[in-house]
Symmetry: none
Subunit: 235 residues, 4 copies
């Protein structure tokens, strides 16, 4: 009886586990392939060669190339979301701090790298891949955007000067970060991740000069340094 239990609980768990792991391995191999060869150069053959599996297996797990690509996108989105939550959890309950946390999440080494950027831009850059992107990630994107708006509103309340639209500023912020990412992709030598993070904080400073002064910046700089050890998330 005990043995029966051991058998029944052991087999499925291992099987299921293996299944998830295989899927992940294929997803990561696909990301590797996209970064190396571009989306159009990412063939099932190349993906499975990188993953060290047979071609047939990829279709066994994903049915479709498109579904594999969707899974890649979902994986990236999930990962970004997780990193974001992590940074927000560490930040104190203050709009300015939380905006900084958002920036830190955006340029966290686990999330922001030439390779990762290559994948996002691969999907953004191709008309048909863009459809996949819209289907899978746009909701997540929108949610993140709208999470920023209240923070900005809080900060705007502290600021002098002419009234500004919080949503508008949020869009501009995201656009700026996207632009930095693009340059990380195009000129990886000139645009280092950490510098971009600082550039993003500078941008916050110029948007909300009264909130982010030199002192707070220095503090955050030190704060961020703790995160910046490029811990590539192992396999």
């Amino acid at each position: 009886m005990t043995q029966d239990d051991t058998i029944t609980t052991k087999a499925p768990t291992r099987r299921t586990q293996a299944k998830v792991e295989r899927r992940l391995a294929l997803i990561e191999a696909t990301m590797e392939a996209i970064a190396l060869y571009g989306l159009s150069g990412t063939t099932m053959a190349r993906v499975t060669e990188i993953a060290g599996t047979s071609i047939g297996l990829a279709n066994f797990y994903f049915e479709n190339k498109e579904l594999l690509l969707e899974a890649v996108l979902q994986h990236l989105a999930d990962q970004e979301q997780a990193v974001l939550q992590e940074h927000l959890a560490q930040a104190i309950d203050d709009p300015g701090e939380r905006l900084i946390a958002l920036v830190d999440a955006r340029f966290d080494p686990r999330v922001c790298a030439p390779k990762t950027a290559a994948i996002w831009f691969a999907f953004w850059g191709d008309a048909s891949a863009r459809l996949i992107y819209r289907r899978v990630v746009q909701r997540t994107d929108d949610a993140r955007l709208e999470a920023v708006v209240p923070l900005i509103k809080s900060l705007l309340a502290e600021q002098d000067g002419p009234p500004r639209d919080a949503y508008d500023i949020a869009l501009g912020m995201e656009a700026f970060y996207d632009g930095l990412w693009l340059n990380i992709l195009l000129y990886p030598d000139d645009f280092q991740r950490a510098d971009c993070r600082n550039r993003a904080v500078d941008h916050l400073t110029s948007l909300f000069p009264q909130r982010f002064n030199t002192l707070s910046l220095a503090a955050n700089g030190a704060n961020q340094a703790a995160c910046s050890k490029d811990m590539t998330h192992g396999p």
Copy 2:
């Protein structure tokens, strides 16, 4: 560019002229195809169908597909350069004005449109196309960037506050504009060209608050309105 006129009126070069026209038609058809189907969906068959020529002819004028894509990139870069010169020529000799002119050029309807953005991002997004991009346009890009630096330096001299690196700011500016372009591509409904132009000027304002005040902005807004009639740049 004015030299073109000389060519069109001169009889002896009729054959050459036809050749140039054919090439241009194919380049524009290619751009159309990229915008419609993405880079991966842009086949020689589709391009020549749009251009109304035969497949053989395309291979006659552009030895192979890669050279055709190079020509597309070169064409876009040339056009951007021309528009930039035009805007600079109209601007008075003042750093602030010239920066505004740069922004106006960047978001000129002839140069900035979802279709055009689609093409740039198609090249940026694909690893192998990125090689073509680097080979063809990077020089132009760098030149433009370095043209901005002196302007920024001039403005920085007028500003109070801590010293800032002009080159650094230039990179940030370009990144911001790239980000706006990306959003014009991804969310054409939310990101209208004219709004992005204004957003870019706002950005300048927050960078150089003492130079660009509300008054000058209003003036520039009026200035820009003159350009904004969406004149689709015919063949």
Copy 3:
């Protein structure tokens, strides 16, 4: 079928019995698949899905796909043979009656249905499957054909008119029945099984007008009615 209970409790033949049942389940699932998807659409995956077993098991019981298809054919042939014997056993020892019994067997609901027809024609229609058919069923077919010849000979002796070849007539009869089956398959709405049976008897009448008159037909019609309750021979 009630035997199942006995089987599960009986130790000695349990294994063998289970084996037979599994084989039968797989054979019937294969027939289902052929009828639904055609021979070319009948994959091991689909068959085992219908049967509710694993792919591996099918390959365990039938070394490979071809042997499974052979088994299907053998199963159909055996079933037809059994039904034929049943009808012959019920018929009195008279050539005319036995011919009618043959017809009734041919169009017995357990043997003749769009689904069954689909399977036979699937094998006849495909060049490579035809080889399997020849290997497995031709002997049975020939045997049946030759069983008919003596009956026809007896009836021919009763008939007036020019001498006719019994074997020739037998071939023609079988061809006619095959043709009816094909139409049951192609036009299931226009060709109902029971009508075809009557058409076949009409054919007999036109072949042996002196033997099969209106009276005998009516009698047979009643006879056949007893068999016609469409008892789908399910598991």
Copy 4:
């Protein structure tokens, strides 16, 4: 003149062959392949190998494998129709004669051969191919069937005995011919085309004994002999 012919046949080589000819060559190669390997064994590779072209060319002319198969069916249907018209044109305006002409058309060597039968049954035998068949040929089939009904009605008027339904008889006739075709396919040695034609006429005789007597049969037999030289229609 002879030289002209030599030139015109020599110069165009394979290239300038009319599009229609190429299509026809591919259709005939497909028919060959179906007869040899069955529908499921008919791969584009095999078809093009038989046709002596490249794989790509078949897709250039037919876009789809399914469209190629449709074209095969259409070709067969057209050919049958043409042969039927030819036979009807030769027959005098008499219902009996026209029915014989129909039989002769059905078993004309250009239309009825193991190879041709293999193709029809290939489409009838496979569930998915049956859909193509229905889409393409059923209309033609129905038309032919309904052309027979008036002829049968005329003959029935001449006959004694109980009233019979003309449409019903027409269905039975077609079924019989289908059955003969099936046997030509399954047992090409036992079922020769010419014998089947005679068997079909015998069938007519037993259906309309007063119309088709021994004399008329003999005459038709002679008549048909003129057609029976198996002229395989060259390439």
